[in-house]
Amino acid sequence: MKQLEQTLRERIDQVKRGGDAKYHQKAKEQNKLFVRDRLALLFDDEDFVLEDGLFANFTAGDLPADGVVTAIGRVNGQTVCVMANDSTVKAGSWGARTVEKIIRIQETAEKMRVPLIYLVDSAGARITDQLEMFPGRRGAGRIFYNQVKLSGKIPQVCILFGPSAAGGAYIPAFCDIVIMVEHNASMYLGSPRMAEMVIGEKVTLEELGGARMHCSVSGCGDVLAANEQEAIQAARRYLSYFPSHYQDAPPAAEPKPPLPAAKPIAEIVPENQNAPFNMYELIDTLVDEGSFFEVKKLFAQELITGFARLDGNPVGIVANQPRVKGGVLFVDSADKAARFITLCDAFGIPLLFLADVPGFMIGTAVERAGIIRHGAKMIAAMAEATVPKISVIVRKAYGAGLYAMASSAFDPDACLALPTAQIAVMGPEAAVNAVYSNKIQAIEDPAERQAFVMEKRREYQKDIDIYLLASELIVDAIVPPSELRRELINRFAAYAHKRQYFSDRKHPVYPV
């Protein structure tokens, strides 16, 4: 018996060492941690790790755990399931048992109703094993099928440490959030070598599918991390805003006052509707200090999306950024918003909209890119969201931009205005030009023309006065800027147990 146990211990140790020493060395040179060290950083406690399938493909001899660790552990005290590729074993490639282990941990996470974290670092399918792992009912396609089925049910988080190539690139694509390690993470359907062979394009991996590109251009990445430790910490932090399952409430934390150095809102927001300001400063005045976790910070920066806490409770913020591209909504910013709103709504995280928006972009380039189609996605996601939903009209909100930011017609629990708010189909300058274009052209004297334009703008300004809009019950309240945080905390507390059912149907026909 003692001998049997001894053998078992040796074999466990052997499998847990992963692949050959030379692959460990290679990983080290790339600043990559061994898969088990990544898990040690991810989990709260190394003593609480339950691993199934350690001996997968043991008899093959050179494929420890078949290149993937699947385990149950704890993050922020929450139980989570994990699948983690081992790039020291055949570059983390997938064989039949690799795929079976991934499918099983997905099934486990679903039954346990806990988050599933994918630590991805894989070269893709083992072509030699394709019949067993690629096309069948429990082939790799099943992984993606399960991801789609689990979407919105349990949080699915991806940390991308290395490549996720070809079909494997869909694992991150179906996760709620993708954290990428700069220089090492990459995501692509066809490698640079394939691009050169098949379409004749010469391109580097970094340009084609590098982490920075995906986090700033394609939008496939949500958080760009400088190294693996930072990426793992980001995943832990992200999960701290989330319940284990869509039917649970998001976890509260210790309330904190906002950043003490934050400037008052009245000093941040210029009265001139067309002058830029930095929306991050306004967010700082509202949220608990240090609680803002931004999603897609480098992508479509004219719109800010991120999680924060108000008096300890999680909230999802969607805010126009007038500092970038005038805060105008573009194709990418509309997509970014639609995705974030859907994520918050799925997991019961209340939504706060901070509107200062001149509208959706116009012109040939964006019309050809389908700005209307993309804008419709954002408006649909926002309309469907039934979590507590508050819209704050910070300054201007013009045209469909007003609609997209959860204004009155879209059933927010409250549409609040700051005294600087201005709600209209379009701004005074554009409106006066549109309505009086012929008259303006007909006035020959420039001074007289200017006087006419200014007079008409003043008249228009009166028609869109925020007190007039409050008088007509279009906004629910005008809030003094210095009291906005308190107002939001109280209102979100009041709406916390809101139950709303949006529509009886199978599912909408998504405007994509």
């Binding site: 067309n274 830029p276 005038g326 105008v328």
Partner: protein
């Protein structure tokens, strides 16, 4: 010396030039202001350097991607 370009990030009209040839700029500094969608849109230089050329004049229409300022 490597050349760095500051480009327009959206279509609009140049309303202000904040730098001229010979000026040194910091990364993140505003160098040009566009007007687009009736908004003032400041354009920053991503890199630090010395301005060698300002490619636009006040009143010019620029498209997304057009070069505004060249640095080295």
């Amino acid at each position: 010396m490597t050349m760095k370009k500051v480009t327009a990030n959206m279509a609009g009209t140049v309303i202000n030039l904040l730098v001229k040839a010979g000026d040194s700029v910091q990364a993140g500094q505003d160098v040009i202001v566009l007007e687009s969608m009736k908004m003032e849109v400041p354009i920053q230089s991503e890199a630090a350097g010395t301005v060698t050329d300002v490619k636009v004049n006040i009143g010019d229409f620029v498209n997304d991607g057009d070069v505004l300022v060249v640095l080295e």
